[in-house]
Amino acid sequence: MFNRVPFRQLVTPLLVLGALAVVHVPDVRAARGYGRLTGVVHLVALSGTPLRSGAYPSRRVNPKTPDAAEIANVVVFVKDAPADPELTTTHASISQRDESFVPRVIAITRGSRVEFPNFDPYFHNVFSLSRALSFDLGRFRKGEKRERAFPHSGVVKVYCHIHSEMAATIMIFDHRLYATPASNGSFTIDAVPPGTYQLSAWHERIGETTKPIKVVVGENASVEFSLPVVEK
């Protein structure tokens, strides 16, 4: 918290500056007639008792690093965006650290590669039963890593055979109209073709929350999500 407060105080004016820069600095794509999607995702606690924790205490023996804020597990994306014929691929990474996948949620473009380095002093495994892609990368020790390309769009959940509490979600899109909110919940999706869209905010526990949005060329369409996710 000590670190975050100055960080957040620093980031907010930077974002404002950034937004002004986008508005005022002419972009190539904007010039060609694109709009922009900005917004904030709020995580709101539900009334009532939180869900029960595991029947088994975790078998994890190492001291656990604090979980990343739940906001990091949210992906905002345009649900009905058409496939992008000029899709560029990326190279993402999900670490295996302290018996967890870090980060737990990532979003990539179709055809991108994800590597899974093991930082724990014991074996890990990566497998998936998802329809978008089923695979099992086998077991590997500390310092090793496995890599996998994701050639189909969809959601792929990956798990570790050895540690049943480990899970991560990889969202693969046919387009680039997605974003991961910053730690304060704000997000920006640039170069959105004008039109009316369904904008979804996805969280691993509650799924999608979708809102309609209209994007006008050269304008900033703003949206606000309130997701009923309890911060742990």
Binding site: L51, S53, A55, S128, L129, S130, K157, Y159, E165, A167
Partner: protein, 579 residues
């Protein structure tokens, strides 16, 4: 009256002792059998109580194990991955996609089921939707209704379904703090379970649901028509009777009726363990019977030997006594007292009493005889006294006949017959009137005919007295002659009994040597001469010869008193007469 021979004494004692022994043995056997039954029953009930304790502990372990097992299974990473993937993708898929996701879950469930062989392994979503079922009895699992899944910290519980009773443990499947659903593991309380319990306990198992048999290791005929009151009794009593056999019974599990969920819930169920008392008692009773058999054999043998010995100690003296008595009766010798055996006091007492009695009987008999003889004598004397000339005639004929008889070597019995017969020989004259009898002159033919009737009359008189029967021939035939000219029958020679001939001769001799109204007495020599003259025709020559020998040399001695007093062997019955 028909007389049936009574059984021998030894038979009686045998029957009595053996019957007693048999009765005692039967009573002992009954007591032993009841005792064995009672102690076996108590033992079986007690054993079953201990078994129940052990099995109850075992059931607790089973429940814990089931719970532990399902907890482990809920952490199966691939199963969790499958369920989590289902949940993640369900939001973005159609029904075909859903089937694929369910198939993934089913595959993971099957993989587990192959290894642990549960009766039912089921996973449901957090909303209660069944995502997959595996296991041997998956088909019977009521998927249409939600099982009231207990919370994970609860012990395993039971559900009664139309297809059976299941022990169920359910735990939530949790991934990263999120409850994905519920995993349930259920094992049926079925025949397999019942036989497992039976193998462990050595007793029978009976599983009832709503009073109906779900599973049992009891013989099927013992459960035919299982009545409601028997079912009720099982819950309360220690012992129940099934198809005539007694069983100790303990309640192992009681599954209370469930009410919350329609479709699968029924009344309560009970798991009992039963142990046959009869089956346990049978070998012990058989062993007791075998032992009793040997004891019975020994007891019967000893009893038989003892009763034979006892009966012999009594029967032998009695046999001896009765042999002596029958010997006595045969020989008619009542003089010698019976000897005592000295074996049995009572038999000796009997012998002594008998001897005493025989003494008095003998005395009475002798008295009776002497009374008879006295009477006869008085009768003869009275007869003789009617005529002064014949006074003492009968006494003299008697004495003379005895003398003759002795000379002819007659035995004592014949001599006795002779003595009394001679005394009575003219008893028939009692019916002849004095006029005829004492007529001084010669008799007319009619009178003589009257006289000739006296032997027959005498015989008739004697016939009325059985005691005098031996003397009848003398009385009746003492006037027969060897030449057949005698009366009353005209018998000849050897047809006439010797005693009759003797009395005939003695009578004639006394008549000749006695005075009569019409003549004086003649000398003995004259008489003998007269007799010799008529010997062979009128008198038996041998008898006359004997008379000659018997007469004393002194001719004057015509009174034969001295002859009669000569010592001769005299029968006992006559001794009294003398006394």
């Amino acid at each position: 009256m028909a007389y049936s021979t009574p059984p021998r004494f030894v038979i009686r004692t045998l029957v009595a002792t053996l019957a007693t022994v048999a009765f005692v043995l039967s009573a002992v056997l009954l007591v032993v059998t009841l005792n064995v039954q009672t102690s076996v029953r108590a033992g079986v009930v007690d054993r079953l109580k201990r078994v129940q304790g052990l099995l109850a502990e075992l059931e607790k372990r089973r429940a814990q194990q089931l719970h532990a097992q399902v907890l482990m299974l809920a952490e199966n990473s691939t199963l969790k991955a499958a369920v989590d993937t289902y949940h993640t993708e369900l939001r973005t898929t159609n029904s075909a996609g859903r089937q694929d996701l369910l198939a993934t879950i089913a595959r993971e469930l099957d993989k587990i089921a192959v290894r642990i062989e549960p009766d039912v392994l089921e996973v449901r979503s957090a909303s209660g939707e069944v995502l997959g079922i595996a296991g041997r009895r998956a088909g019977e699992w009521p998927a249409f209704a939600r099982v009231n899944a207990p919370r994970p910290d609860a012990e395993a519980t039971f559900v009664t379904t139309p297809s059976g009773i299941f022990r169920l443990a359910s735990v939530p499947v949790v991934l990263q703090g999120t409850e994905l659903g519920t995993l349930s593991l259920a094992n049926a309380l079925d025949e397999r379970y019942a036989s497992e319990i039976s193998d462990l306990s050595g007793a029978h198992t009976l599983i009832l649901s709503d009073g109906h048999v779900v599973a049992s290791t009891l013989p099927s005929d013992s459960l035919m028509g299982l009545k409601a009151e028997v079912v009720d009794a099982m819950a309360k009593a220690d012992v129940v009777t099934l198809a005539g056999s007694e069983y100790a019974v303990r309640l192992l599990l009681h599954i209370p009726p469930q009410s919350s969920v329609s479709g699968i819930n029924r009344g309560g169920a009970h798991v009992y363990v039963l142990d046959s008392i009869d089956a346990s008692a049978r070998p012990m009773i058989a062993a007791a019977l075998r032992r009793m058999g040997w004891i019975a054999l020994g007891a019967f043998t000893l009893a038989a030997l003892a009763s034979v010995w006892l009966s012999r100690t009594i029967a032998r003296p009695i046999d001896t006594l009765s042999a002596s008595l029958s010997n006595m009766a045969e020989t008619r010798n009542f003089e010698n007292p019976l000897t005592t055996g000295g074996d049995v006091l009572e038999v000796d007492a009997l012998t002594i009493t008998f001897n005493t009695m025989m003494q008095s009987v003998n005395a009475a008999e002798n008295e009776r005889l002497s009374a008879y003889v006295g009477t006869i004598r008085a009768l003869a004397l009275a007869l003789d006294a009617r005529d002064p000339y014949t006074a003492g005639h009968s006494e003299r004929v008697s004495a003379l006949s005895l003398a003759i008889g002795r000379c002819m070597w007659l035995d004592d019995a014949q001599l006795e017959v002779l003595r009394l017969g001679a005394l009575l020989h003219d008893i028939g004259k009692i019916g002849i009137s004095d006029h005829v009898l004492m007529k001084p002159g010669p008799l007319t033919a009619e009178e003589y005919e009257i006289i000739k009737q006296h032997p027959a009359v005498g015989a008739r008189i004697l016939r009325s007295v059985p005691f005098l029967e031996p003397h009848i021939p003398i009385v009746e035939l003492h006037h027969e002659r060897p030449d057949g000219k005698g009366y009353p029958h005209g018998l000849r020679g050897t047809e006439i009994p010797l005693v009759a001939s003797i009395v005939h001769v003695a009578d004639a001799f006394d008549a000749i040597t006695s005075a009569r109204a019409y003549r004086p007495a003649r000398a003995a020599a004259d008489g003998l001469r007269e007799l010799w003259r008529c010997a062979g025709a009128q008198f038996d020559a041998e008898v006359v010869h004997a008379l000659a020998k018997a007469l004393p040399d002194n001719d004057r001695a015509h009174s034969f008193s001295n002859i009669a007093s000569r010592p001769v062997p005299v029968p006992a019955s006559v001794r009294a007469l003398r006394a």
